[in-house]
Symmetry: C2
DNA sequence: TTGATATATGAGCATGAACGCATATAGTTC
DNA sequence: GAACTATATGCGTTCATGCTCATATATCAA
C-alpha cells in the first residue's frame, strides 16, 4: 500500500470539490443541523429553517443526490435523514479551524 | 460547558459555508496539494498546476485571504505555504466518505 | 533611469447556482 | 372520479465566481 502521498487525479479532485460545494451553502448546513436529532419530513424542515417550501425541497434534493441524506416516503410525506454522519466531523473540524483563525487574528490586533 | 449540541448562529453558518466554498474548486485543491511538501513560489505552482499565471495568482489570493495559506515575499518572488494543516484532515475525511459512497453505489448495482 | 523578471489586478465574458413564483406530481380521502 | 395535502419541478431573474487578456505594480540589476 504505497498510498497516502500520491497526488490526486483530476477526477478525484473534482469529486472532492463537488462535495465541498454541496456543503458551501448556509441553508444546506442549517438543514443538516436540523437533521442532527433524527429524520424529519419536509414540512418540519421548512418550518425550522424558515425557508420556502420550494427552496428547501431543492436543497434536500441536492444533499440527497450527493449521498449525504437518505429519503424515505411514508404516505403523503417524505422523510429525510443524515446518511453520512462523517459530515458532522467535517463541520467540527472546520469550526475549530475557523475559531483558531479568528483567535490568531484578534491576537494580532491586540 | 454545555456546548456541542447547540444550533449554530446564522453568522457561524455563513463562515463555515464560506470556508467550504473556498475548498470547492479543483484548482485550489490542486494548489493545496502541491504545497503539501513545503512552501513554493508562484512560478513553481503555475508550472505544477498547469494553470495560467493570472488564474493561479488569484486562487492563491483566495486561499491566503481565508487564512489557509501564508505569504512570504523574498526579492522578486512570493512564497506561499499551507498555514492551516487541518485542511488535510478535511480532505482525508471527504475522500473517505466519497470512497464509502462509491462502494455502496457499486454494491447496490452489483 | 531603463530594462527585465515575478506577481497582482482591472475589465469583460461566460457559466452556474440560488431564489421566487407558479404549476406539476404523488398519495390520501371522500 | 373530485378534492385535498405534501412534495417536487420548470422557468425566469439575479448574483457570484472562474477564466482570459491585457496591464499594473514591485523588486532587482545595470
Amino acid at each position: 500500500m504505497e498510498d497516502s502521498v500520491k497526488p490526486m487525479s483530476d477526477e478525484a479532485l473534482e469529486l472532492v470539490a463537488k462535495r465541498f460545494a454541496v456543503l458551501a451553502e448556509p441553508m444546506r448546513l442549517r438543514l443538516l443541523q436540523s437533521l442532527m436529532d433524527g429524520e424529519k419530513n419536509v414540512n418540519a424542515l421548512v418550518a425550522e429553517s424558515g425557508g420556502t417550501q420550494a427552496n428547501v425541497s431543492r436543497h434536500l434534493q441536492t444533499l440527497a443526490r450527493d449521498g449525504l441524506l437518505s429519503r424515505r416516503r411514508e404516505g403523503l410525506q417524505v422523510f429525510y435523514a443524515v446518511a453520512d454522519k462523517s459530515i458532522f466531523n467535517l463541520c467540527t473540524l472546520v469550526c475549530g479551524s475557523i475559531r483558531e483563525g479568528l483567535k490568531k487574528q484578534s491576537e494580532a490586533i491586540g
